[in-house]
Symmetry: C2
Subunit: 173 residues, 2 copies
């Protein structure tokens, strides 16, 4: 599948089949993730693939943004101690968020190519999900991706006209 | 070009030919950008394609992270007033950064498919570049992308082994 088609066919998927996602596939997605650009090659990203149904159920309970019973929840995390020591305290948190997000889009597009669907989840009880994942204090939980085989076609809400978001040379109100 | 190959062939490009990038291509890249996921469909992203050589030169002067004389600098921005009003003050800034970064990766992968090269630039004099772009206070300058046709092959530094970044179910030190 070419890049343009994958970008066009990526929609937030909120309904999944029961089919599990193999570890081979999870590894493939992660290999794509880590090829994203990363500030000073710091690679402070950490990916936790939650596949144990009991863990998935528990995280879902604490995630109002989650729907459709995904077989996998990918927790996108960053190691803040690596980020701070390599990138400095001022911007490291934001640079880590940028890096993991560039990586997340690689995962989402490669997922489309693999017949998988994803949904980014930013609404969850951080304290509860951190406890379930066993995160130490220096690992920041950035956000979650629901992952699985779509139970039906996805659909994205309409986007603004390009003229509303693209400018040449300078910004004009 | 399939997604996996585009992900593998994307490298930070720091040397560009003199060839200009057409407005049609810049529009195509932006169309890909806005198909990325966006929190609550808020679409607070703003893309400024700087193509005027004098503007490019000025921004480059204030961007120590820039090299290779790109014909285009894409300024990735977010409208913080839209973000705050739609997403709330607490998280809107971070959610906007996530959205524009997911969009940025779409641009970078579609660029590979179009024979273009990119480089993310996070090191620049924010005040100076904001002034050149004419940004009002509610438009946040997130970061820059150098864009153009590569003058030579790119190369990415080695990545950590997957075992160092991928975990199952819970985090383990």
């Amino acid at each position: 599948m070419n890049v343009l088609d994958a970008i066009r066919e990526r929609h937030s998927i909120r309904s999944f089949t029961d089919e599990t996602v193999s570890r081979e596939t999870l590894r493939d997605l992660t290999e794509c993730a880590v090829l994203a650009p990363t500030a000073s090659n710091v690679q402070c990203w950490k990916f936790i693939a939650v596949t144990d149904p009991d863990f998935v159920r528990k995280i879902t309970l604490f995630s109002p943004g989650m729907s459709g019973k995904p077989p996998v929840i990918l927790a996108l995390c960053t190691d803040q101690s690596i980020a701070e020591s390599r990138l400095g305290e001022t911007n490291s948190r934001e640079l880590a968020t940028i890096d993991v997000s560039l990586a997340a889009e690689n995962i989402m597009l490669r997922a489309v190519e693999q017949g998988l669907g994803t949904c980014t989840i930013k609404s969850f009880n951080e304290e509860a999900v951190r406890a379930i994942l066993g995160l130490p204090s220096h690992i920041r939980l950035e956000y979650l991706l629901a992952l699985g085989y779509p139970a039906g076609p996805g659909k994205s809400p309409a986007r603004k006209a390009i003229e509303e978001v693209l400018y040449y040379d300078t910004y004009k109100e």
